[in-house]
């Protein structure tokens, strides 16, 4: 910025900046864009709204290339473990936000370990895309195949339960463009928010309301879910049986999947524990392991139980004895209770002995933090590949053969085996503001193809369009992400 197109003192103190990127010479207030929407006033500094994003190792002197580097430096600590020894130009900002066209992508040549490399940098418009969400929880979120809704619109469905987690599949072409307009728009908004690492409230038909945010614990029906269960009830018995043995006569680990009963369990039998005669509800699988002791819910161990004694079916007077010491505990250690049988063999609540309390706490300690994780999944179709090479199938083959590395915002993508380029990437590793959308509706995501220059020429690439990394840095405003 030059000062000869001066601002008044009042304008200066109001934080207004003068943009000299074009003859309009907009005066821009703080937090506002200029007439073009390309430049904006960010805290008194003129910035490009859609800079290219650059990844580099923080200790590299290459930072010196970057215009206004102190403005842009160090927004994120991402890209850890990323194999970038040189600045790496990402697809973020490679195109503007206009919905109706895509500028030709950057094709950047550089040297890595003495080998000439080419990175084709673009932003792809993905009509076929969605997210797979893994929610670490034992709480009941809803039946498999149930519809997942945002603002009343169907945006996806509940899929399989995994170990300690529930999977959701959200988005996909049928919700984006196959349903009503509103369904498509709401789905697109939800995907965009999840990919931007923002919180989204999902309502599951016949199930719970869960707030999902990438890399954060889920909130199920208003309750923050802080940890995963240590294992199923049977696994918990197996892990902690020796630590309980000298302090209890029976332990029941309440779990929605498999509830464990110590004295009947292999773990208890191995320690010569005496049968206690306490029979739990549900269907016995193998000794000491019970399915379906209660309905799924938000109570103990992912069941609907709030009073653990509800799951006790009967106490056998021939086997049990007055004074029998019973621990009931959930698979996360969040719920626990201590009982002693009275003269009528009725369980009575009693203060939990310290050594038992310690093992309950150890269960909690062994639970991993519960997180929501969001993987963006999409297919790179014909037109996107055509921006890379005149012969798109060769790009697919080259990716298949691992000659071409595919990254999204610099993060390596997992490529599904089989036909096409169907990829998955962890959004939490991607730089801020990586995703956009077009009104189709479809998502816009950065994508970079990196390969050897000679391989690129061989697959029919636009090698003559390649520019050097230095030229990109000189001619384009960039944002540096470390």
């Amino acid at each position: 910025m030059s000062d000869d197109i001066g601002l008044s003192e009042a304008e200066r103190s109001a934080g207004i900046v003068r943009c000299d990127a074009c003859p309009v010479l907009c005066r821009i207030r703080p937090g506002r864009p200029g007439a073009c929407d390309r430049y904006a006033n960010e805290n008194g500094t003129l910035v490009r709204v859609d800079p290219l994003v650059l990844l580099a190792r923080p200790d590299l002197p290459k930072v010196a290339f970057i215009e206004g580097s102190n403005t842009w430096a160090g927004e994120l600590g991402k890209g850890e473990g990323a194999p970038f020894t040189e600045p790496f130009v990402t697809g973020i900002g490679a195109t503007t936000t206009y919905p109706d066209y895509k500028p030709a992508p950057f094709i950047v040549s550089s040297k890595h370990d003495g080998v000439d490399m080419v990175t084709v940098v673009t932003e792809g418009i993905f009509s076929y895309c969605g997210v797979k969400v893994k929610i670490d929880t034992d709480r009941y979120l809803g039946p498999e195949q149930a519809t997942v809704r945002v603002k009343g619109e169907a945006v996806g469905h509940v899929t399989t339960a995994e170990y300690g987690s529930q999977m959701l599949s959200l988005g996909g072409v049928h919700h984006l463009t196959g349903g009503s307009k509103k369904e498509g728009v709401v789905t697109c908004e939800a995907l965009l928010a999840l990919c931007a690492k923002e919180a989204v409230e999902l309502v599951i038909d016949g199930g719970s309301t869960v707030t999902v945010q990438a890399d954060r614990p889920p909130i199920v029906n208003g309750t923050l879910e802080e940890r995963m269960r240590v294992g199923c009830g049977s696994a918990a018995i197996g892990m902690f049986a020796p630590q309980w043995k000298d302090h209890v006569d029976e332990v029941i680990v309440v779990d929605d999947h498999i509830t464990g009963v110590l004295s009947e369990h292999q773990g208890g039998a191995f320690l010569d524990m005496k049968p206690a005669g306490i029979r739990v509800r549900g269907r016995r699988s193998t000794p000491g392991r019970y399915f379906q002791v209660a309905e799924p819910g938000l109570g103990w161990g992912g069941t609907d139980v709030s009073d653990p004694l509800e799951i006790i079916d009967r106490i056998d007077p021939k086997t049990a004895w007055p004074g029998l010491k019973l621990l009931m505990v959930s698979t996360t250690g969040e719920h626990s209770a201590w009982f002693e049988l009275d003269g009528d063999l009725k369980p009575r609540p009693a203060p939990m002995p310290a050594p038992v309390r310690k093992v309950v706490e150890r269960i909690a300690e062994n639970c991993e933090p519960a997180l929501c994780t969001v993987l963006f999944m999409a297919g790179a179709g014909g037109s996107l590949r055509a921006g890379v090479t005149e012969n798109p199938v060769r790009l697919t083959r080259s990716v298949r053969d691992a000659l071409t590395r595919v990254t999204l915002g610099g993060v390596p993508a997992f490529i599904w085996p089989g036909g096409g380029i169907t990829l998955m990437v962890d959004v939490s590793k991607m730089p801020e503001k990586s995703f956009g959308y077009v009104p189709t509706p479809a998502l816009v995501a950065p994508i970079e193809f990196t390969l050897r220059a000679d391989d690129y020429a061989a697959l029919g690439g636009y090698a003559s369009c390649a520019v050097s990394l230095e030229d990109v840095l000189r001619s384009t405003k960039v944002r540096l992400d470390k």
Binding site: I16, L25, C26, R27, R32, G34, A35, D100, S180, P441
Partner: protein
């Protein structure tokens, strides 16, 4: 300072950009004619912004009893488009996008034999149709919400859309008002007027002085819409009716052919059959 830029998009369309002007241009016909047309468009584009900027102080003043004195051809188109509306507050800037589109279209088709051509300036579109040819234009608000069918026989050669969420400020609350008129500048001015008329008084409508957002705004201290909450259906209908009445007035005066108004999922279409709401999804 950045120079005017030209680039071919991957599908062959021409993209011209300078400062706030973004044009996406497409011509249809034999290759040599199309190429020459694109060259004419870029040649004309070169000084458009610089010339406009020279007259900005006049262009940002409301049109009153006297026709503004202007030199540049684009500025002249702007003034001509807003002149019929001078009874209400309007500045030539209300037609700037459409006028640029018209000017570039005129330059690119001069002496060329093209089947059809369009210049899309951020949604304000000027187009050319040879006999027997037609164009379809989609209207996007939430999704593909409407379609305009444009035939050679119809007098319509311009489409423009205005609304409070766009790049320009609006005094009304319309999500989008799309207008068909004889050229893009006329459509642009009329869309601004109709979008301003789609309005209501409601606590969920937040307004701010235009110059508190943009010190250079041609609207000065007039309030402009900065947020609209979800309004009761009756308020939406009342606001749409106010806009529709304005659209009918402009149509009777021969200033527009048709208008489609949208607000919070509800629609009004006034005028000829060229505009149709897309089938409900």
């Amino acid at each position: 300072m950045n120079r005017p830029q030209a680039a071919h998009l991957s599908d062959g369309r021409l993209h011209l950009q300078h400062g706030p002007i973004d044009l996406v241009i497409e011509a249809f016909g034999v290759a040599l004619e199309v190429e020459t047309a694109y060259a004419q468009a870029f040649a004309r584009f070169d000084d458009v912004l610089a010339t406009l900027v020279g007259e900005l102080p006049v262009l940002r003043r409301p049109v009153g009893a006297a026709h503004p004195l202007l030199q540049g051809p684009v500025a002249w188109r702007m003034a001509r488009a807003v002149w019929p509306h001078r009874a209400i507050y309007i500045t030539p800037m209300a037609a700037v996008a459409g006028a640029v589109a018209d000017e570039i279209l005129a330059a690119m088709i001069a002496g060329r034999a093209l089947d059809k051509a369009y210049v899309n300036n951020g949604g304000d579109i000027a187009f050319h149709l040879a006999p027997g040819h037609e164009l379809r234009a989609g209207i996007f608000v939430d999704a593909l919400d409407g379609v305009a069918h444009l035939h050679h026989a119809s007098p319509v050669r311009g489409i423009a859309t205005s609304g409070w969420g766009g790049r320009s400020f609006s005094r009304g609350i319309a999500d989008a008002v799309t207008v068909l008129a004889r050229d893009a500048a006329a459509a642009d001015a009329a869309a601004t007027i109709v979008a301003n008329a789609v309005d209501a008084d409601h606590p969920l409508i937040v307004r701010q002085a235009a110059n508190s957002l943009d010190p250079d705004s041609d609207l000065g201290a007039l309030p402009v819409t900065v947020a609209v909450g979800t309004l009761p259906a009756a308020v939406v209908d009342t606001a749409l009716e106010r806009g529709a009445a304005e659209a009918r007035r402009l149509q009777r005066a021969g200033l527009i052919e048709a208008a489609a108004l949208s607000l919070q999922g509800r629609w009004r279409v006034e005028g000829t059959g060229a505009l149709a709401q897309a089938e409900a999804g």
